[in-house]
Amino acid sequence: MDRAKNLDLAAEVKDVMIGVLELGIDRAQLDESVSLYSPAVGLDSLSLLHILVQAEERFGVEIDDEDVMAAELSDVGSLVAMIRTVVDAKGTGE
């Protein structure tokens, strides 16, 4: 995936996060280094699942249960990377 597509995907994931978590901020304010557990984000397991379902719909992919359970998510970038992996795999037909 080229740099422009990478940026688009990251932006869309952030949009999903902002919507589900009702953060009321602009995506530019959601840097990939921000901790998912920071007061500004406050991710929990329910909202994580909802973000993933929304991302599935937006990108037309299905995320494996095992990938979700094994994920070690720490910051916004790690969530973007996880979804990017699934989208890329779909693109290469894996």
Binding site: Y37, P39, D44, S45, L49, V53, D65, V68
Partner: protein, 472 residues
């Protein structure tokens, strides 16, 4: 000869029924736990007055969020697909004992001298002795597919813990069960059965978790509650990477899995040539009631608009008949997402009736929404009346109902008596969710005249609801 309506194994349903596809009312979405609760490691609200809990999933120390639910089951919880395919391996497990029989209770009819036709769907033939294994097997399958190695749960009377411990076996998963103290002591063979299945069984409240220690500090003689047991299980699972907390009561996906009961019963009532005027189920959190009722609700919407659906709860834990429709937590410590439900408040601890599976403080969100809109009815019974009904049923039909299931028996008897008084034929169907062969000590106490009827006061209910009302 008793009339029994059998199906063959090929008629085990291939799909679960998702009532969300047809419901004319909105079921409010769950709301995440307040962030203050989710970030503070500390103590248990309602026990020592401080906010916070032992939720380590988002504890402010960077511990990764670990979803407790496989994404597949979350999709089932929020989806609107009417018929959800049962995975092949799960259906094969179901076929080891399903379809369960549906009987006509002819002797009970004669004993009551009623013109009513009484039918019951009997889930006591399952390996665990109750309906709970219908969702336990499904959940174990999805968790195993997710790579989970250990299931952790809370159990009230023990039926759920028994079912989950059995369901883990085909997948080689470990099972840890926090069992409500009152039931742990009243029903020792439940614990034995779970241990026989390889599970670790812990009396709750326990010293193993901060939630349990706080509850014991507040009341060393606490009889425990399902809310506390679940909170302990959540804390225990959250600290272990390969373990997950599983629940078998009121969640949407649990209700979905239980619809195999009603789908089979529909075919069996068709064989009997009748459609029920009233469908009755005992009401803990709602999975048993939903399992028998939801498929009939679907059919009734089309062709039998007068059909009634009756949820039966204990006087000691009257969440529907005396609770309020509020956003509340599903566990005692307040770390779980909030759902809109009829509730007595998540800190409410019901008197330790023998029907421990009905002591849960809230009703399933879907059942609650239906009750709020008048689509289902609710009633409650005293413990002594429930045991009287259970004994009457046992003597007429030769099956000992679990104390939980005997609540449905009591309501079915009242419906049949009303039919007699009104001189009307009426078709009654109830779910006999499990046998009571591990509850004989409770029946023995009843025979000895030791059954106690305890009803919470309005003040007690208001006290546990007040924090919810004030924060809503």
């Amino acid at each position: 000869m008793r009339q029994v309506f059998h199906l063959d194994t090929s008629q085990v349903p291939t799909h679960w029924y998702n009532i969300l596809a047809d419901l004319p009312v909105e079921v409010p979405a769950p709301r995440s736990a307040p962030r203050a609760n989710a970030r503070t490691n500390g103590t248990v609200p309602g026990v020592d007055g401080e906010g916070g809990d032992a939720d380590v999933e988002a504890n402010g120390h960077g511990t990764p969020v670990r979803p407790q639910l496989p994404l597949s089951m979350y999709r089932q919880s929020i989806g609107r697909t009417r018929h959800v395919e049962i995975p092949g391996p799960v259906r094969e497990e179901y076929q080891r004992w399903r379809p369960t029989p549906l009987y006509r209770a002819s002797r009970l009819e004669r004993a009551l001298d009623t013109p009513a036709h009484i039918y019951f769907k009997y889930e006591g033939t399952s390996p665990s002795g109750s309906h709970k294994i219908n969702t336990a097997l499904a959940q174990a399958y999805y968790y195993a597919q997710s790579g989970v190695k250990q299931m952790v749960t809370g159990t009230g009377a023990g039926q759920w813990g028994t079912a989950l411990s059995m369901a883990c076996l085909p997948y080689g998963m470990e099972c840890t069960v926090f069992m409500v103290r009152s039931s742990y002591r009243q029903k020792p063979y439940r614990g034995t059965l779970m241990r026989l299945n390889g599970a670790r069984v812990i009396e709750s409240p326990s010293m193993e978790t901060e939630v349990g220690r706080a509850a014991l500090r507040a009341d060393p003689d606490s009889p425990g509650s399902l809310g506390i047991a679940n909170a302990e299980a959540i804390e225990y699972a959250s600290g272990r990477k390969d373990a997950r907390f599983s629940i078998g009561s009121g969640e949407n996906h649990v209700l979905l899995h239980q619809t195999v009961i009603g789908e089979e019963a529909l075919l069996q009532m068709e064989k009997a040539g009748e459609f029920p005027d009233v469908v009755i189920g005992a009401m803990g959190a709602g999975s048993n009631f939903a399992g028998i009722a939801f498929p009939f609700y679907r059919e009734a919407m089309q062709d039998h608009p007068g059909t009634r659906f009756l949820a039966v709860e204990p006087d000691a834990c009257p969440k529907m008949t005396r609770g309020s429709y509020l956003m509340d937590h599903t566990d005692y410590s307040g770390v779980t997402p909030m759902v809109k439900m009829y509730t007595l408040g998540h800190t409410f601890t019901a008197y330790h009736i023998h029907a421990g599976g009905l002591r849960y403080h809230g009703a399933a969100p879907i059942v609650s929404a239906m009750y709020h809109e008048g689509l289902v009815e609710a009633t409650s019974y005293s413990q002594s009346r429930v045991f009287e009904s259970g004994m009457a049923f046992a003597r007429a039909e030769g099956l000992v109902p679990a104390p939980e299931s005997a609540h449905a028996v009591a309501a079915a008897i009242d419906e049949a008596v009303r039919a007699r008084e009104e001189g009307r034929e009426r078709v009654i169907l109830f779910g006999l969710s499990g046998h009571g062969l591990l509850d004989l000590s409770a029946y023995e106490m009843h025979l000895a005249g030791e059954t106690v009827d305890v009803v919470p006061t309005d003040e007690q209910i208001q006290a546990s609801l007040r924090p919810l009302i004030e924060s809503s």
